[in-house]
């Protein structure tokens, strides 16, 4: 079987977001593999280590520098990568067309992708890809096992969680709690250099973004930043309650 693990490259969570010319400026920022996608890579590797005979392929759609994130996936243990190179920012629905096309061509059985993208804060990629392929999906998965062609797992829903079973082919979206992603080892990094990354261009996928992006703004709410010293707990507590009651007037 074949497992796709989708790789998106996003701003490192520790980096400050900057906006220039009405768009988020990333050129001089540190970018990393989306943490949510790391869980997907790790889970694919674990399913194989637990007995699934699988080829694991990292899929990335994005600019040239995305190859760094794909190389990380290869160093973690993924077998090969496909990089559809484009500078166009694609919304999740447009992106899902590329992924679904590759999944059909490569006869993928399972697609793993992050539950929420750390840049567009979107949840849509997994479900949109599943719909294009007419596959079922389980989102926000926190446990997963594969026996034959049946997945069992647990995932989060509106209130609480569910256990489920699902037959392949399927799309699974991943999140924190599913596993602890491994770090690439030195032998892994050496081996990754010999692994294949197939480059493709976006043209043949006939992708048209459906949502127009107009501008980005950082609207930081101005905060009062009144920070009290708590060395005298009673005095600090009294001052805080005074502020809440008489300045902000939010409590009785």
């Amino acid at each position: 079987m074949r497992i796709f693990t989708l790789i998106r490259q996003v701003l490192d969570a520790e980096e400050t977001v900057r906006v220039q010319n009405n768009a988020v400026a990333l050129a001089s920022s540190k970018l990393v593999m989306d943490t949510m996608d790391e869980y997907g890579v790790e889970e694919a590797l674990r399913l194989r280590e637990q007995g699934a005979e699988a080829e694991i392929i990292a899929i990335g759609v994005g600019p040239a520098r995305l190859q760094d994130a794909l190389r990380t996936a290869l160093a973690m243990g993924v077998d090969r990568a496909i990089h559809v190179e484009t500078d166009l920012a694609l919304d999740a629905l447009a992106l899902s067309k590329v992924v679904a096309t590759l999944a059909s061509e490569e006869s993928a059985d399972l697609i793993l992708t992050g539950g929420q993208q750390a840049d567009w804060d979107s949840h849509a990629l997994g479900a949109a890809t599943a719909e294009r392929l007419n596959w079922p999906q389980a989102t926000w998965t926190t446990a997963l096992a594969l026996s034959g062609r049946t997945l069992t797992g647990r995932h989060d829903v509106d209130e609480g969680s569910e256990t489920f079973t699902l037959d392949l082919p399927a799309v699974i979206t991943t999140q924190q709690g599913l596993n602890e992603p491994r770090y690439p080892t030195l032998p892994g990094i050496m081996k990754a250099k010999k692994k294949e990354t197939r480059k493709e261009t976006l043209d043949r996928f006939d992708v048209v973004p459906t949502v127009s992006f107009e501008r980005a703004e950082i609207q930081t709410k101005s905060r009062k930043l009144r920070i009290l010293d708590g060395k005298d707990p009673q005095a600090a507590a009294a001052e805080l309650i005074n502020l809440l009651r008489n300045e902000a007037r939010v409590i009785a």
Partner: protein, 316 residues
Amino acid sequence: MILVVAEHANGKLAKSTLELLTAARSLNRAGDVTALILGSDILAIAAEAARFADQVLVAQTPALAQYDPELWTAAIVQIAREGEAHTILIGASRSGREYSPRVAIRLDAPLLEDIISLHDEAGSLHAQRYTYLARVTESISAKAPIIVATIKPGAFAPAASLPSPSEQWDVDLNLPTARLKVTGKTTESTDRVSLTEADIVVSGGRGAGTAEAFTALIEPLADRLGAAIGATRAVVDAGWRPYAEQVGQTGKTVQPSVYIAIGISGAVQHLSGMNKSKLIVAINRDAEAPIFKITDYGIVGDVQQLVPAILAELKK
């Protein structure tokens, strides 16, 4: 028509549905604002919805007793086609954000996801949404014969009721069989006010110390303030609190009038779930904690001493 997919739980229309109806009305697009109710025991919910929507479509069948992304997709797509909907509004709940992309793909419609504002400008829909873990506000737009949008809870005021109830129509659906088989369900419920609807949230992090200390510190304060209880991912992962209380990227997004963060350092993933709160209060022993950068009123000090002192002060 403007199709609004009603959200409901425990036999009641959710507040989010009334917010969707406000968004639908504010568009001033042609056609009835139509609420679609999906479920197996929904007549009371439909009657409630009839007080707010121009018409109510009732799809009551045992097959819809339990939410499933593919069943919901099939139902909504069929109704949208038969009713010639040009706009479909869905709540940006976990479930709404899970099935809405399928609806959009099947209808060949753009998806405006998790939006906080929406207006029609010469037939094209303009919206705003938070991105980069809720640190950036982006403006987006789409123009198409049919558009799907998911609306962030709390972004719109709840709709006011109509002078007289509107008509309700039963609808028949052709539904597929669910491929995701649910084998067990853990529902986390609480007697407290719901986290996403609460006016005040008292939230705790690892700085509370232990599960017992969390309970001893946070619960009495929340009780005193009539607040909901929130928690960080670390606290939930440690098993101190149920997942239903988790605030942040992988939990709930809240925007109460007052958010009180106790022993929370403020990882960006947590901040993304609460940084739109109107007033933020933080108590933490580390003056350099990132939470203090977005705090209105803060105290640097020992939470074990400060929280009881605050409680004592509130009782004065």
